[in-house]
Symmetry: C2
Amino acid sequence: VWLNGELLPRDAATVSIDDFGFLYGAACFETMRAFGGVVFRLDRHLARLNAGLDALGVTPPLASELAAVIDKTLEANSLRDARVRLTVSAGRGGGRPDLSSSTAPTVLVVAEPAPPDPGPAVLAIASQRVDRSRPLPRAKTANYLASIVALAEARHAGADDALLLHPDGDIVEAATANVFLITSGRLLTPPLAAGPLPGVTREAVLECARSLGLHAEERSLTPPQLGTVEEMLLTNSVVGVRAVSSVVDRWTGTHVPGPVTARLADAYCELVRAECGPQAQPATG
Amino acid sequence: VWLNGELLPRDAATVSIDDFGFLYGAACFETMRAFGGVVFRLDRHLARLNAGLDALGVTPPLASELAAVIDKTLEANSLRDARVRLTVSAGRGGGRPDLSSSTAPTVLVVAEPAPPDPGPAVLAIASQRVDRSRPLPRAKTANYLASIVALAEARHAGADDALLLHPDGDIVEAATANVFLITSGRLLTPPLAAGPLPGVTREAVLECARSLGLHAEERSLTPPQLGTVEEMLLTNSVVGVRAVSSVVDRWTGTHVPGPVTARLADAYCELVRAECGPQAQPATG
């Protein structure tokens, strides 16, 4: 892993107990996918990271430096197809909740082999509702507790991921992915105003839908409407497009992956190959 | 500081980059005040901590062990009047957002000299609204970003702390304290259902109010109602009772500390002395 200017063995990589990331979750992170040594849409990931750091009052490292550091970390691990997590925290402070006491951000890059294709996902609806506003709107921060608690609950129920709802019942996202539904042949996903993370793959899949001539719409949906849903799919940077086979007690897909999901997954693979090179092999779970 | 079973110099104390606290803010913490070597209401702090850890699926360390570790940390620093932060994170995982991959929680105790009496506080209303629901209701977690960003903003505006409001304008709390208002001689504080942290000092001050025969009520209040407010005060474990001198552009106290605030501060000092010993000297800012 790369930590604050040096490559270290993962077990030796530590941060101060006074790191604002550890104390308050004052960090932003990106989880990305490298194909053949090329990170898909690194620029979009870094744009989201920088927007979050800006809201935290942290000067983001230069994009060119981050790109070089990611390359070095991939090389040091002899990895070309990888899951890459980039974390930038507000750095080390003086033990008080005063972000201005930090002198430099903590920068961490962890690269691991890309996980195998996980196959279709089973979702469970999270018992804890999530609010509309995030601490920092549209930033992906280490204030990520609602998602990982929901994920733990879903796994305990035998599901792969959790479906997060607003207090009024609108679907927002999954704990580790954005959600798309297909109903009457139309592709629907919750609008950013509803509070899902603005996923890089979400954006790419909306582009794919447009290029396929699919009717795609950013619209809120409630679980009672699941009865009319023909297909459901998740998107995130690591897995790409992942079909959903069922939502516990609410919905079961008839053909998984369904025809629209399969077309979107193919289009997404084409897009990745166009941008990262013809050898790229995205999973299409 | 005490970290996972040993006393270490603060600069040498680090946590793994795979600590769930650093990755996702998956930690709970308590900031407490020791008077003459005795932590005020340690049992209440540990009860809140344990409830939060339980929601995180983390087995809390034994209360007796935590009490012993806090004593050792105070002794090692030759401190009797101290600010003590106890942090328990979900521990180290395997790099995935899977809390069940942790084998043991991370336990950290930091003791520092108690800060001097800060005097009355100036508040600024935070621009970012906070939601009603927390990731874990009533837990004090390291998902603390909304508060520290609001605090940074308030300090930038020349204030000491931030006043956090709901989207509908109700006052919730300050970034680092609970809020009380006095209007027509009655003491008001937002109810726990409105989402403030269930402060240990908040609870103690409500007890003081009852013992003084004051009319105390847990009720929501909006900034437009500030016009009728006679006094305002903050409570937290480190400072105790702290008078508010003004809310930027909204309210200015006429006598600070006002008579009710002064009575509450005295009663709080008495309570601390009764529980921690007659030598205890709480600040009454």
